[in-house]
């Protein structure tokens, strides 16, 4: 496997004006400029191989967009080195652009008033795609999605889902080595989300395109990514396989029980003082770390004192783990 992206000790700092409050403060800001340095990305290193789909996760304001902008050449790193396909993106922006595709969930890059097919033809010229490659790509698109209905529709008349789909197809059209997808499923309905995920999966498989996916939707991550990278406050928190993620944070399972009688949650808490206990509807959830104690053990302790009517066992979801990482990262 060959490395397609190499990021080494990259940091990005921004100068931000310390704004004062109120009108008086604003006027003072005009005269004295009191800057502070904010580190949006703090000493991040990672290598990404050709053909990987990497989930790039982090809470809002974690520095995801900044990293993506540095990889696409829009921003220059303050320190450290980035190589994308052997190029320094910021120095060779146009050359880098030829090798990458970018999709922003909410911002279409297609010509607003043109039918999709005309946008494709323009992109074919701009990226100097040969006729044979172009026709091959269109052939493949026809097999993957029902594209005929979209081709002659102006982009402005499309639904958000159709537009996202079109944007993704446009991003892959010149057969780039890497495609950056920034929240591609944002605002889409369930079936459209599934369609988009299938499409990304198929394109990655067909063309061995590297995909960097930022998202807040764990469904995307579960469906597509084998590897995930999590950052928060500019620092890297996690970089490994998705299976590893769950064991990394202990082998947690959630035991859910329904208890007869008043104050069920208080009673459970009294019985299990060291556990994370929460309540939703009539169900009381207990988070069990199986490396310390077994679920059966916990259940036995509860049955002794409480009148447990019903029980359910839930595996921890990716979403729960990520939430835990974000919360611990923030603490």
């Amino acid at each position: 496997m060959s490395k397609i992206i190499e990021i080494q000790n990259v940091s990005k700092e921004f100068k931000v004006l310390n704004r004062r409050e109120g009108l008086k403060g604003s006027i003072m800001d005009l005269f004295s400029r009191n800057y502070k340095i904010v580190r949006a990305v703090d000493n991040i290193s990672m290598d990404i191989n050709q053909g990987e789909i990497v989930g790039y996760l982090g809470p809002n304001g974690a520095g995801k967009s900044t990293t993506i902008k540095m990889m696409t050449g829009v921003l220059e790193p303050t320190s450290g080195g980035i190589l994308v396909n052997g190029n320094e993106p910021y120095r060779n922006r146009t050359k880098n652009a030829q090798e990458i595709g970018v999709v922003f969930g909410q911002r279409s890059q297609l010509w607003w008033s043109l039918p999709l097919i005309e946008s494709f033809k323009l992109l074919k010229d701009i990226y100097r795609v040969g006729d044979a490659e172009y026709n091959g790509m269109m052939e493949m698109y026809r097999e993957l999605v029902d594209i005929e209905g979209l081709l002659h529709k102006p982009v402005r008349q499309m639904s958000l889902g159709q537009r996202t789909l079109s944007d993704i197809l446009a991003a892959f059209l010149h057969d780039p080595k890497i495609v950056f997808l920034d929240e591609p499923t944002i605002g889409l309905d369930v079936s459209m989300k599934a369609k988009i995920r299938e499409l990304i999966h198929a394109l990655n498989k067909e063309k061995n395109t590297t995909v960097i996916l930022t998202t807040h939707d764990m469904g995307d991550v579960d469906a597509l990514c084998r590897r995930i990278v999590i950052i928060d406050k500019g620092k890297m928190l996690y970089d490994n396989d998705i299976e590893h993620l769950k064991s990394f944070f202990g082998s947690y399972r959630t035991l859910k029980i329904r208890v007869d009688g008043e104050n069920s949650i208080e009673n459970v808490r009294a019985e299990l003082p060291d556990f994370m206990v929460s309540e939703q509807d009539e169900w009381v959830s207990v988070l069990v770390d199986e490396e310390k104690t077994t679920v059966m053990d916990v259940l036995n302790r509860l049955i002794k004192t409480l009148d447990v009517r019903d029980m359910r066992l839930e595996e921890i979801s990716t979403e729960d783990v990520i939430k835990k990482i974000y919360e611990e990262g923030a603490a």
């Binding site: 829009v74 922006r93 146009t94 595709g101 970018v102 922003f104 010509w111 008033s113 323009l122 990226y127």
Partner: protein, 265 residues
Amino acid sequence: MKKIGFYLRIYRKILAQDLKSKMSYRADFIISTIGMIFTNIAGFVSFWILFKNFPSIDGWGYYEILFLYGFSLISLTPVQCLFDNNWSLRNYVYSGDFIKYCFRPINLFFYYQSEVFDVKGLGQLAFGVGTLVYSWIKLGLGFSPLMLLKVIVFLVTASLVMIALQNAAAATCFWIVNSFYILDLTLKFKDYAKYPVTIFSPLFRFIFTFLMPIAFIAYYPSLVILRPDAVPLLSWLSPVFGLAFFYLSYKLWMFGAMKYSGTGS
């Protein structure tokens, strides 16, 4: 050269597509064309009223000023037709949508400007050519291929200056939030381009020549045709100035665009 051919081909294709889609909004097309005709007629009327009262301005007669007027209308056509997207730049920058232009393997300035072609400018071109030809005949300037060449060269010069002004004004949005006033200001100032720069005070003459070079839009280039016996050095230099202003404005625009980092998402 190969590169220029590549860009021209892309521009032609984008232009053809853009025109096709514009024609599909027929009402919009017709109304804006009518609006443009009225704007131009209003311009002529105020011009005519002015000359009813003052037979000449600083030694410049009616047809000579008309010549300047036509000259400035023609030289404003390229900026109107080809660079109209400059007016939207501040919105793209403010909302963060400008980032979508940053990922194509072609020149950013070209890609951005190519997106919009304003057909209304062509009507203005017709007005301008009509006015210029009419005043040319009335002035009895005669005709020779050399004169035609001179007019074309100096029209290109004048257009470059106007484009440069607008580029520079639009590019300010990379640094300040509301650059509309600056753009609007240049638009208003260019109205003064229709008059001989000698009617202004020395201070404004200096400003209009070097800082806000609107005197190059019509006055200095026109002198070559209208006053061939006493052409100032600045007139002959105006093609150089035109190219220089355009290049500087392009560099400023690109500098701002490369500095741009977008809003978070």
